[in-house]
Structure formats: C-alpha cells, structure tokens
Symmetry: C2
Subunit: 343 residues, 2 copies
C-alpha cells in the first residue's frame, strides 16, 4: 500500500500537526449555558451589530478566526489555506466572512461535521507537506437556520422533544505544521450512512448510525480501545442520538458511558434552557471544542480526545420528497503528548 | 519553508497523480451541442427515470462515477476518498448519490469550481501519501437549479442576455497515485474575490476577477507563461466573463486569445441553442473536462492543459439582502508528459 492509511478509513500522521490557536464567538443563549466562561466572545444579542441573521453569522466567523489567529500568533498572510463551511444554502456565512481574507480557500459542506472535516483535511495537507499553517472555520446561527430549514421565528412554531436547537456560534482553529501541541495524530473519515430515518425533527437518530460506524472503524483501524481516550465526544447527536450510540456499543459488549459525551448535550443546560434534545449546528461542536475541550487539554485535564463531528446531509427539499436522512461522521484524534502518532 | 508550495497559492507535486479514468452523463440539450459525441451517456429526457429533478441529478452522478470507475478499472472498494459536491442546497445530489458507495467522503461546496476543487484536494491527498485512488465528482441540473435559484420552470420567466444556462450533467474523475497519465502537476488555489457585482444574472462578470487573479498567481508562482499551455480553460464564465478575462490580460500586455476558452462557451452552440451568455453550473466544466478535454489529451491533441474552475459563492438570500457576489477560481495544471512536475 505504501500510504499513511491504516485501514480503509483512518490516516496516521507521520508528523502530527499542532493546534496553534483556537477561538470562538457565541450567542446570548450559549453564553448562559454551562460552558459560558470558556468562550472568547458572547454576543449581547444575536445580531452582532448586523442587519440580518446571515450577516450576524458572518460577523461571528470573522471574530472567531481573528481570536484564533491572535492566540496562535499567526497573521492571515501566513495562512496557507482556510478550510471552512457552514449550514446556510451555498455556505454564504463562510464566503462572505472570507471576502475579508486574502488566503487560498477550500469550501466544504459537511453539515454539522464541518469542524471535524476541516480539521481532517487541514491536518492532512500539513502532514502532506503543503504548507505551514491552515485554518479550520465554521459557524451556525439559530435564527438563520430556523429561517432556512424550518419556519420564520415569528411563527413561534413548536417542536417535538426529539428536535435539537441550532447553536449560535462560530469556532476557528489554526493548525501548524509543528508546534507545542495539542497534536492531531489520526483522522478517521466517514462514509455516508443512511438507516432510513425520515423525521427531520429527529436528526440525532439519523446521525447516530454514522457516528457508530466511524467510531467502530477508528477503533478497528487504530487498534485502540474506547478506554484509551479520556474523552470521546460526538457533535451533535443530542441526548437521544447519544443514547443510541451508547446502546449500539452496549450490544457489542462495550461500555461507553464512562468517557463518552455529546457536544449537543454539553453546550446547554437541558433542564433550564429548553433546547429539547440538545444543541446542533456546525457551530455547536466547533464552540464546544474551541471553548471547553481544547482549554481542558491546555490545562492538562484531558490528554487524549477523540472529536467526532456528525452531520445530517439532507435538505428541506429532500425531506419534502420523502427521502431519508443520510448521516456522516468524521473522527479526529487529538493528544497533548508529543509522540502521539503510531498505531 | 520546506513545503511543496511555490508561491502563496500554488503547489507543485513531487509525484504527479495520474488521471486513471473519467466519465460523465449529460442531459438532452447538452447532447445536442457541439461536444455531443464526447459524452458517455446522453439522457433521452432530463429525468433519468426519476420522479424529481433533484433525484435525476443524483442518478446522473451515479452514472458518471460508474463510467469513471469502469474506465479506470478501479472498484469502489479501492477508492480511498471521494471528494464531491454540487449546487443544490446542502449538496443533496451528492449525499444521495454517495449513499450507494461504501467510501470515505469529503463534501465540498465550491459552486461551479467544484470539479477543480475536488481535483486539487484529491491530488494533494495522493501526493501527500494518503491513498492510492481518489474520486472527484460533481453535477448540476438545469431544472433543479432553476427551481432553487430562480423561478419554477412553469413560469417560463425570461432572462437578460448576460445570464447563463445551468448545464445538466455530471462528471467524475478517478485519480491514481501512479499510472500512465495524464498527470496533475500543479494546483493553484483561489481566494475569495469580490469586485462588487450584484447582478445575479451576470455571474460571468462576478467571477472573471477571481479567474484573472488565480491565473495571474499561477503564472507568477510557476514561472510559466500563458503560451506554455496548449489550452487554458475557465469554467464557467460564459461569453461575457471570458471577454473580461481576455481584457484584463490585454491590459497587462498579454494576448490570451490564441489558447484560452471557457467551458460555458464550449458546451453549447451559442447561435443555435439559446443559452444566452453560455453554460454554467458545476456540471458544465466537469463534463467539458471529462468529455472533450481529457479525450483530446488521450488522443495526443492536447499536451498541456490549465483547467480553471470558477464559482460564484452567493445565494438567493445574499442577493436579496443586497450583497455583491464573491467569486473563486481554482486552477489545475494537467499534462500528458511523464515528467510534468518542477517549477
């Protein structure tokens, strides 16, 4: 084979890229949740001074990227590539935020898996020798997502308890070819997985099989057991999808309850914040990673993290045409140890 | 620096990946154009036996990918990654076509630049040592695009002469780590470029500055003159955008008229087919490349090709909010010569 692939889906880096900086900006509700103190910027309202929700999302992206660049001590000019995308039709939050940047850009669409997808590709390009610095960037906004995917906010329409709450937030990460870590050691790239769920108000159930499939592949390809990780997070399956993943592994005789959680469950206080099954949206896992998780790593509280971005690859049109919801999950292994690579 | 980058935007491959196979499927109108004889499959109507235009687009993708795999002599199981995307909201043509494939998948959104973007990333991953085979896949469909971006077909709404006609077609390319070529030697990755054009019926003008910028960067980074290439194509600026690019270079004292064309101009017969300024859509440059251009290379009629995918990164929402149209262009240098690399 003579590639860096170990198994069909996993890559093991020869020179694990370093996370040089990370930043984020979140909305008011996210700033009232349990992770409030971890964010770089909490909006007073969700407009971020802009006239539309879409422009507010763009404004958040700019803030998140600037915080990440600043903390990494990297100028935009030094970036070799930006990988970015969002949930809006034609990913406009991203293209409008990157108008301000004079940097080569690869646009992605991975729904809520975008942060994991952009980290995967960014790390592969750095390890492949194609540059020194790469940025990974994504966002979502509750109001722009409601308008686009569901109903105008003014309707005040109700949702079933299985529905998730699109997070208002943007996260950015600067990867460096070398540095003091944490390091990305492996990426396991997901396949489109569709088990026939057609309820767009139950995306946790639609995405859980993809998460299970990618996690399985990761453990098989790397030879690692789930217990190797201090923390395994999916993002964002919500409380229901999380239970499904735990159930799937339980059937295999694996107990995932000790070190597994979901970004959709971490971001909000389920009892007090009325978010139904939990958070979702590209921004959710991005801000939990760039807010809470990477800070825990910096503070030495987490050593080995498996970050698994999950996305539902449907659209309102496909739902109206009776299609089921395809899911995908990309896993990124992050460690604070210098020698993280190797099978 | 110690990277494979030459200049800020261009990568030069140490081991130029080989184009092992390519395939396509097009609609009825495309099959009546000047390139008709080059396509693998021309639909009798534009439904491809499906009940919706979106599903027809998915069906075309499956056909194109199957032709490409067959011609490359590669099974889906051998693919390390698929890079794909399309124009539909949330890229559903792609996610639904890839439900049928058991292959790691990276979703892209690059509007009409998607084929160039997917080839760029696919080639980088192969040269970086992350696999042996990668597929690049994209599509567009006139009817699904009209419904989503403009008006229902039944309205029969008119367009100004600067408007382009979204091509119905899908193209796929299989890249191999090694093989008998043609080879991808360089990729020049574009930046988001916005010169303030707000007319969504004049996307050629909106994208032309991005094409000019990437072409300039390519020539500067590689030290190549435009005359090095037997053929430089953009895709898809249409007749107006093409003239703008020629004008920009003329101002620099460079004559691009001898070896430059645009996929939007090549796909249709402008006089007889009533496509206004020419073809557009992810499928347009994808089928011109996988139909006409790569066959010309196979037959020895073209040696050095610079394929420049151009995309307009706006949405109906951003247009309605008064935003201008950001453009992007990614250039991919393809050659039939074994030793194509090097500055």
């Amino acid at each position: 084979m003579d590639t860096k692939k170990i198994g069909q889906q996993t890559v093991c880096f020869a020179s694990p890229p370093s996370i040089a900086g990370f930043g984020n900006a979140v909305g008011k509700k996210e700033g009232q949740g349990p992770l409030a103190s971890y964010f770089d910027c909490v909006g007073k309202d969700d407009t971020f001074g802009e006239k539309s929700w879409e422009k507010a999302e763009t404004a958040m992206q700019k803030k998140a990227l600037n915080y990440a660049l600043e903390k990494a001590g990297v100028t935009p000019k030094e970036l070799d590539y930006i990988f970015a995308g969002d949930l809006l039709n034609q990913c406009i939050a991203t293209s409008y935020s990157l108008r301000a940047q004079d940097v080569p850009f690869f646009g992605l669409y991975g729904a809520c898996s975008t942060m994991a997808e952009s980290l995967s590709l960014g790390a592969m390009l750095l390890d492949g020798g194609f540059g020194n610095y790469v940025a990974a960037l994504t966002s979502s906004h509750f109001c722009s997502a409601e308008r686009q995917y569901r109903n105008p906010l003014e309707y005040g329409s109700q949702k079933p308890p299985t529905a998730q709450w699109t997070a208002t937030g943007s996260g950015a990460i600067i990867l460096a070819k070398s540095g003091k870590g944490p390091y990305i050691t492996h990426v396991t790239t997901g396949k489109v997985t569709d088990k026939g769920i057609t309820d767009a108000n139950n995306m946790g159930a639609a995405m859980a099989p993809a998460a299970y499939s990618t996690l399985q592949a990761h453990f098989q390809d790397t030879g690692r057991k789930p217990g190797f990780y201090d923390c395994i997070v999916t993002g964002d399956l919500g409380s229901l999808g999380k239970e499904i993943v735990i159930d799937f592994f339980r059937r295999d005789g694996v107990d995932l309850t000790k070190n597994y959680d979901d970004c959709g469950c971490l971001l909000f206080n389920a009892d007090a914040q009325d978010v139904h099954a939990g958070g979702s949206g590209c921004g959710c896992s991005a801000v939990v990673l760039t807010g809470y998780l990477l800070r825990q790593m910096q503070e030495g509280k987490l050593k080995h993290l498996l970050f698994c971005g999950t996305g539902a690859l449907h659209s309102p049109t496909s739902t109206m045409q009776g299609e089921s919801i395809p899911g995908i999950c990309h896993a990124v292994a992050i460690t604070t140890e210098k020698k993280g690579g190797g099978k």
